[in-house]
């Protein structure tokens, strides 16, 4: 269903804000190549709450203008090489955050609120560099009590991978509720899944409990092993050897280009 992935990717336009999940939640690696082929650049990536391989590859492909994240890394395979190079060269802008601040920004959007307050952060350089955040005195405290306000994050498109969806577009996300949070906050949500099932996931209370309703889902496409080389909870483990291979190859821009060309050949 590569055609579907391409048409989904074509929804992404230059300058859009994309929400992408943490490596263990369900990364739609299957969408990475179609996004690169689609070529829309100057993207604003919001990592929920951290980024990895997909973020590194989109940066390596030159599509990223701004990264809002609590961290970018390849986990056991080490630092994210294209991200690190881009930081050093100053070719991307950074909005360094901390995990719960990303969650707070999405929660504000979910609630239709302009911001969410958050404890912590006072005195950090994370806060000092975030001109888009505000500090107020807690109006409920009798004495001065500074508290940080995180403005709502409204991504244009959320993209993730999940085990299954039904014919109505309901998506099974299990306990990975950050995927629902991304969808609630975003204008569009694109989902790749291992399989399409025939039963309606909302018809049964047991499956309904872990289901993101179609109300929030713009488009679904089947992409078996679509998180690879990442794993998918309850389905398959991470291919750490492949992450290592990437980490080693992508140390240079040339090595990155070779790796991606090799991937494209495999998929063709």
């Amino acid at each position: 269903m590569q055609g579907d992935l391409r048409s989904m990717a074509s929804r992404v336009r230059p300058g859009m804000c994309l929400a992408l999940p943490v490596d263990y939640a369900g990364v739609s690696m299957a969408m990475t190549a179609p996004l690169i082929q689609n070529g829309a650049g100057d993207l604003h990536l919001v990592c929920v709450p951290t980024g990895g391989l997909q973020v590194d590859q989109l940066i390596g492909a030159g599509l990223v203008g701004l990264v809002e994240t609590s961290a970018v890394s390849l986990g056991e395979a080490g630092g994210a090489p294209r991200f690190n190079a881009a930081v050093k060269s100053g070719s991307i802008r950074l909005r360094d955050a901390t995990c719960p601040a990303i969650h707070a920004g999405l929660m504000a959007a979910q609630k239709g609120s302009p911001f969410m307050p958050m404890r912590g952060l006072i005195g950090t350089d994370v806060l000092r560099h975030r001109q888009d955040w505000r500090v107020i005195d807690n109006p409920f405290a009798t004495e001065g009590d500074p508290v940080v306000l995180i403005p709502a994050i409204h991504p244009d498109i959320a993209i993730f991978h999940a085990p299954m969806a039904d014919r109505s577009g309901n998506v099974w996300i299990g306990r990975r509720r950050e995927l629902a949070a991304m969808a609630y906050a975003s204008s569009q949500t694109l989902v790749t899944v291992e399989r399409i099932v025939e039963q309606n996931l909302l018809a049964d209370e047991t499956t309904a409990a872990g289901t993101l309703p179609a109300l929030y889902v713009t488009e679904v496409a089947q992409a078996p092993r679509g998180a690879w080389p990442y794993g998918l909870w309850g389905e398959y483990p991470t291919d750490t050897a492949e992450l290592m291979r990437y980490a080693s190859a992508a140390r240079s821009a040339e090595g990155f280009a070779d790796y991606m060309a090799g991937q494209a050949k495999v998929q063709a």
């Binding site: 943490v22 939640a25 609590s70 961290a71 360094d96 901390t98 404890r119 005195g123 306990r175």
Partner: protein
Amino acid sequence: MTLAPLPREILICTIARLLDGVRHVAVGASSPMPAAGAMLRRALDEGQAQVRLSILGSVAHNFFTNGSAELFDSAGQGRLDAFFLGGGQIDGQANVNLVGVGDYPQTSVRWPGSFGSAYLYFTVPRVILFREEHTPRVMVEKVDFISAPGISPPGVYRPGGPVALLTSKALFRFERDRPGFVLESLHPRHSLDELRAATGFAFAHDEDPPVTPAPDAATLALLRGRVLDELEETYPAFAADWRRELAAHSLA
């Protein structure tokens, strides 16, 4: 005859001691030693109230069902008693830098980022700084970027913060009111002179600091039996390496 404790075993036992009385501890996905320390704590407390261990990203050691925000929520609710924090740089005020070296944002060395530190350091009562590498480039006088500050001025909401710093060379406790680190003990085969040379910040210490206690035979047996077995499920590579080291030493 029991094999003498390995350096990593001393660290794990020290972590277990630091977790005494804790109800719920969370450790990062790639933190085998803190996880082993928590598992040892649990084994030592068999029959009593046991510590609950959450390993981030793990399916088996995951008590959470509300996505990746739940760890932070539970900390905000006061349900998370202990957490481990590393750091590319750690300074004498217990400030932690997980972002990079040099001038932000175009740092010359970039680390992954602050993760949840800028929140958990404020909200978790017992944060244990754990970094094996003890060199002047890690233990600096002043961090280049404060991901999370060791202390906060009066009036700032701060139920949590650092209590200890554990490295491959020594254990320090942190005094918030001074503020600064106090040397608690040196690990076997390390000297005060060596420690001073390896540490970029000043710290308080006895003239003749004690040696970090080694585990007794019963604890060691628990560690090399049940804990190592439990650990294997989540950290197979670390467990295999540990077993190799044990085998090599018993042959020597």
